[in-house]
């Protein structure tokens, strides 16, 4: 339980860092070059980890189902959607909507066990908790920050491509 939450928190911290780094990269390379670069680096790092921890099993892809080959496309869809969202709405509103959708769909996936995940019993505490978190997101994002909004380059979305 604690391990799971800590791992998720660690991932979140890395996403935050990556988002900043991608912004810096975007300035010099532009959006799709950055996306390409970031996914390429991620691929190399993952392959290295896989070889270190799994050895030869890295290439034993016996349980592959055809759709596995296309899952990476979801990430590309994410980039396109986030870039357009930010362009139309500005970062604050757009990111708030995105975070809300992320949490809402997380609850749906748990409750319905979509994609063959283990179904988690839905209960009202879960929904109430998610509602409070969403409200917190809006307070955080819209609460009178004296901030001149820096235009977010397209690839800031990439950090959240996961």
């Amino acid at each position: 339980m604690i391990t799971g939450l800590l791992l998720a928190a660690f991932a979140g911290a890395m996403v935050a860092l990556q988002t900043i780094f991608n912004n810096r990269t975007d300035v010099h390379m532009g959006s799709w070059a950055t996306t390409t670069w970031v996914l390429g680096m991620g691929f190399i790092a993952s392959l290295a980890c896989s070889l270190i921890f799994e050895g030869k099993r890295t290439f034993e892809l016996g349980g592959m189902e055809p759709w596995f080959w296309f899952s990476g496309l979801i990430g590309v869809g994410v980039v396109i959607c986030l870039v357009l969202g930010v362009k139309i709405l500005g970062p604050t509103f757009s990111v708030s909507v995105t975070l809300t959708a992320q949490l809402g769909f997380a609850l749906l996936f748990d409750s319905f066990g979509w994609l063959g995940l283990e179904k988690m019993p839905f209960d009202w505490k879960q929904l109430a908790g998610v509602a409070v978190i969403m409200a917190g997101i809006y307070v955080f994002k819209f609460g009178g920050k004296k901030k001149t909004e820096t235009p977010q380059p397209a690839s800031s979305a990439v950090g959240e491509t996961l």
């Binding site: 860092l17 990556q18 680096m41 890295t58 496309l73 869809g77 959708a101 505490k125």
Partner: protein
């Protein structure tokens, strides 16, 4: 406006979908393998788009970027590993909630101290209250 909301919403849905898809794929072929596969296919697709769109940027610009920032992409491996393992142990809702809170906390820290050359931003009471509410929401789910 509605279109923007739709894109932002769809983007969020896809982020969660991707986490869940990775979790499912990892059950069949292993977590590091899943991370390798999704990023390889995503890379190929992004590279194809880069080649075909006019304003896709320029990969050769990497010489002007600090190596630290260029290495950021490698985080993708541990991000996917952490997220997938979390989804398997605590479920999607908890995993995503914890991930988002940590993400906002770290962004908050970076902005407050102006790390990595970000413009220093004074965060006010609303940001603290917002974070407290988010953490409260996670505790509420576990009551």
């Amino acid at each position: 406006m509605i279109k923007g909301i739709l894109f932002a919403f769809l983007g969020g849905a896809c982020i969660t979908l991707q986490g869940v898809a990775n979790a499912r794929i990892s059950e069949s072929i292993g977590t590091w393998q899943a991370a390798t596969l999704t990023q390889l296919t995503g890379f190929i697709m992004a590279f194809a788009i880069y080649l075909f769109v006019k304003d896709g940027g320029d990969l050769r610009g990497f010489t002007k970027v600090k190596p630290l920032y260029l290495a950021g992409g490698a985080f993708g491996s541990v991000i996917i590993f952490g997220e997938v393992t979390a989804i398997h142990t605590v479920g999607v809702t908890f995993a995503i909630a914890a991930l988002l809170i940590a993400q906002l906390c770290v962004t908050f820290l970076i902005d407050t101290f102006g790390w990595f050359g970000t413009v220093k931003n004074k965060m006010g009471a609303p940001q603290f209250i917002g974070l407290a509410m988010m953490i409260g929401g996670v505790l509420l789910m576990k009551l």
